[in-house]
C-alpha cells in the first residue's frame, strides 16, 4: 500500500514537472535590445541602494535597464566611489561629474515590520548640485520589480519632461507552429502571462482605455469573431458574431463602446457597438472597403482605412457632422492609422516600392515622416506617452516586434525565443 502511494506521488511529481515545462509562457517571453540610441543621451549614475543586496529581488538593476532601454540615457558605472552614498546629503557632486555623470540616483532599502521594507531614493542633478526628486515606498520585496519601474518613471519624467511608460504593459500575439497565444507582459518584456490560447489564428488585440479588458479577433469558429475579455477574471464574451466577418475592434475613449468592421450587410463596413455587444449602429455606408477604425483621444473623430478612392488610404470621419476627409495622398497603400495620444497626429503603415513601413503624419502640417526601414513592417501601436511606437516586423521569416521613437532615432528589437510574435498593443498608463 505504501509502495503504491509512493509510486503515485512520484508519478504526480513527474507529470507536473513535464506539464510545467510544456506550457511555459517563457517560450514567448520577449527579450528587448536597443539597437539605436537617441540624439543626445543623459549620462546618469545609478548607485546600488544600501541594503538592496540583502534581498533576492533585483531593484536598481531594473531601474538602469529601463532607462538604458529608452535610448535616452547612458549609464555611468558607479564603481570606485567609496563610500557608496545612500542619501542625498552623502553625495559629493564632484566625484560624479568627474565620471561624466550629469545625474545621480542614490537610495536605501530598510526593513519595516511584517517583512516589508522602505525603499527610499533620491535623484540629484550633479551639475547644478540640486535634488530633483525624493520618494519612498513601503513594499514587500516581491514588489521590487514594480517599484523599480515606478522609480524609473520618475527619473525619466524629471530628466526628459515626458511621462514614463516603464510601468505599463504590452499585449502581443505569439505563434508557435499551429498554436497561437495572446500574451500580456510588462513593458520590459518580463512576466509574460498567457491570456488566450488557441489552435486557430488570433489577431487585433486592443486594450480598453482603463486597461481592464482586451478586445481581439479569433478565427476559432472558422470565421472572424470579436471577443472582449476581462484580464482580472479571464472571462470573455462575444462582442460581435454577425453573419460573415467581424473584425478590427477599436475602443472609444470612454470605454463603453467600440468601433468594429462587419460584413453582415455586405462588404466591410464600420459600425459602433456597446462593449457588451448590444446596440449595433452603422457609422457610414459606402460601396468601398471601410475598416481599421481608430478613435481620436477626444472621441470626436475616427481615422479609418478605405479604398473608396480606388486604393487603400486613410480618412477621418468627424462623428458629429459625418464629414469624411482624406488624410493620405502619397502612394497607393496607406493603412492602419493609430492616433498619437496628444491628438496632434497619427502613425500608419505605407507601402512604397513593395516595402511596408511605419510612418507618422502631423495633422497641422500634413507632413509625413517614414520612421522604419524594414521590408514588411505592420501593426503600429503607440505608447501612452506618444514617444515610442511598437510594431511588428519580419521579412517573411520569423516575426519579431520592434519599437521606434516618434522622431525615428531610438530603435529597439523585441524577440521571443521560440515564437513568431506579432500584433503588439501598448497598454494604457496605470491609474
Amino acid at each position: 500500500m505504501l509502495r503504491r502511494l509512493r509510486f503515485f506521488a512520484t508519478l504526480a511529481w513527474f507529470t507536473a514537472l513535464v506539464l510545467g515545462l510544456a506550457s511555459n509562457p517563457a517560450r514567448a517571453q520577449l527579450t528587448i535590445e536597443i539597437i539605436g540610441g537617441g540624439g543626445t543621451t543623459v549620462p546618469i549614475a545609478i548607485v546600488p541602494f544600501a541594503g538592496e543586496a540583502n534581498y533576492p529581488y533585483p531593484l536598481t538593476g531594473i531601474v538602469g535597464a529601463d532607462l538604458a532601454r529608452s535610448g535616452l540615457f547612458k549609464l555611468i558605472d558607479p564603481a570606485g566611489v567609496n563610500p557608496r552614498p545612500a542619501r542625498a546629503d552623502d553625495v559629493r557632486f564632484g566625484e560624479w561629474t568627474a565620471r561624466g555623470a550629469d545625474a545621480v540616483v542614490v537610495g536605501s532599502v530598510t526593513p519595516q515590520s511584517e517583512g516589508r521594507v522602505e525603499v527610499r531614493f533620491f535623484l540629484l542633478d550633479a551639475v547644478k548640485q540640486t535634488q530633483l526628486a525624493g520618494f519612498s515606498y513601503v513594499v514587500a520585496p516581491s514588489q521590487f520589480r514594480a517599484t523599480a519601474h515606478k522609480i524609473a518613471d520618475i527619473i525619466y519624467e524629471k530628466l526628459t519632461g515626458d511621462v514614463g511608460v516603464f510601468s505599463t504593459r504590452i499585449a502581443y500575439i505569439a505563434k508557435q507552429g499551429p498554436r497561437y497565444e495572446l500574451l500580456v507582459a510588462e513593458a520590459d518584456g518580463y512576466n509574460a502571462q498567457i491570456i488566450v490560447t488557441s489552435n486557430e489564428p488570433l489577431l487585433s488585440p486592443v486594450w480598453s482605455p482603463d486597461g481592464s479588458r482586451i478586445a481581439y479577433v479569433s478565427l476559432e469558429n472558422k470565421k472572424p469573431i470579436v471577443y472582449v475579455q476581462s484580464l482580472a477574471t479571464g472571462q470573455r464574451q462575444v462582442l460581435a458574431n454577425f453573419r460573415g466577418s467581424n473584425s478590427a475592434p477599436a475602443w472609444a475613449p470612454d470605454g463603453n463602446r467600440l468601433a468594429v468592421t462587419l460584413s453582415r450587410d455586405g462588404g466591410s463596413q464600420l459600425y459602433l457597438i456597446n462593449a457588451d455587444g448590444s446596440g449595433v449602429q452603422r457609422l457610414m455606408s459606402s460601396a468601398a472597403i471601410d475598416t481599421e477604425a481608430n478613435f481620436a483621444p477626444d472621441g470626436r473623430s475616427i481615422l479609418f482605412t478605405s479604398d473608396r478612392g480606388g486604393s487603400p488610404q486613410i480618412y477621418r470621419l468627424t462623428l458629429g457632422t459625418g464629414a469624411v476627409e482624406r488624410m493620405t495622398f502619397d502612394g497607393s497603400y496607406n493603412v492602419s492609422p493609430r492616433h498619437l495620444p496628444d491628438g496632434k497626429g497619427f502613425v500608419f503603415v505605407r507601402r512604397d516600392g513593395g516595402r511596408f513601413n511605419v510612418a507618422i503624419e502631423d495633422f497641422a502640417t500634413r507632413q509625413v515622416q517614414v520612421l522604419t526601414q524594414g521590408a514588411s513592417d505592420e501593426s503600429p501601436s503607440v505608447a501612452p506617452n506618444g514617444k515610442l511606437i511598437l510594431y511588428a516586423s519580419g521579412n517573411g521569416g520569423r516575426g519579431i516586434l520592434a519599437a521606434v521613437s516618434s522622431d525615428g532615432r531610438v530603435k529597439q528589437r523585441l524577440t521571443a525565443a521560440a515564437s513568431d510574435v506579432r500584433e503588439p498593443a501598448w497598454g494604457p498608463l496605470p491609474k
Binding site: R6, K222, S245
Partner: protein, 191 residues
C-alpha cells in the same frame, strides 16, 4: 521501511511523461469547447479548365446533400464541382474568366439543391495589414457570392467569411506562394 525501488521509479517517470504529454496536448483554459470542424483543404491548383463547366451538368445526378460518398458530384474529381478554389491577382478581387465555369457550376448546384449551403472563404497573400487583408479577402468572397446569386443561388445559401492572410495554404514567401494564397475556397456545409 520501504524505499522506492528503481523499477517503480522508472515506471513512474515514463507514466508521468506520458500523462503530461497527453494533458499538454489539450487546450488550456481560455478556448471554449466547440464542435470540431473538419479542415477543408482543396487540392492545390484547383482551377477549372475552360469549358469544363458543361461536365457538371451531365452524368451523375445533381441531387441530394453535400455529404455521402458514392455518386456525390461534389466529391467526384471528374466533376467541376469538386474544384473549389478561385484565384486572384495582387490587390484585386476581380474574377478572371477562367473561373467563371466553376462558379456557374456551384451556383447551379445551389439552385438545384435548395437545402445545400456553402461558405465562401476569402484569403489574401501575406503582404500588408492583417485587418486590411481581412477586408480584401471578404471582398473576394463577396464578389464570387454576387456572381452566384445572379446565376441562381439564393442569399441564405451562401455565407461569406474572410481569413485574411491568417490561413495561407502555401507557407512560402515568393510569388508562387502569394498567388496560391490569393484565393476563395468554397466549402459546403457538413464538409
Amino acid at each position: 521501511m520501504h524505499q522506492l525501488s528503481h523499477r517503480n521509479f522508472r515506471h513512474a517517470l515514463w507514466a508521468g511523461i506520458a500523462i503530461a504529454a497527453l494533458l499538454a496536448g489539450c487546450q488550456t483554459t481560455q478556448t471554449p469547447d466547440k464542435a470540431p470542424v473538419e479542415e477543408r483543404t482543396p487540392s492545390p491548383g484547383a482551377a477549372a479548365a475552360p469549358g469544363a463547366g458543361t461536365a457538371g451538368t451531365t452524368g451523375t445526378g445533381v441531387t441530394g446533400s453535400a455529404t455521402g460518398t458514392q455518386g456525390n458530384p461534389l466529391r467526384d474529381p471528374r466533376n467541376v464541382l469538386s474544384k473549389r478554389s478561385v484565384y486572384f491577382d495582387y490587390d484585386s478581387y476581380a474574377v478572371k474568366d477562367e473561373y467563371k465555369p466553376l462558379i456557374e457550376a456551384h451556383a447551379k448546384y445551389l439552385q438545384t439543391n435548395r437545402t445545400a449551403r456553402m461558405a465562401i472563404q476569402g484569403n489574401a497573400d501575406e503582404r500588408g495589414s492583417r485587418e486590411y487583408n481581412i477586408a480584401l479577402g471578404q471582398r473576394r468572397a463577396d464578389t464570387v457570392k454576387r456572381m452566384m446569386l445572379l446565376l441562381g443561388a439564393t442569399d441564405s445559401q451562401i455565407e461569406t467569411v474572410s481569413f485574411g492572410k491568417e490561413k495561407p495554404r502555401n507557407m512560402g514567401h515568393d510569388e508562387a506562394a502569394w498567388a496560391e494564397n490569393r484565393r476563395d475556397d468554397v466549402v459546403y456545409a457538413g464538409e
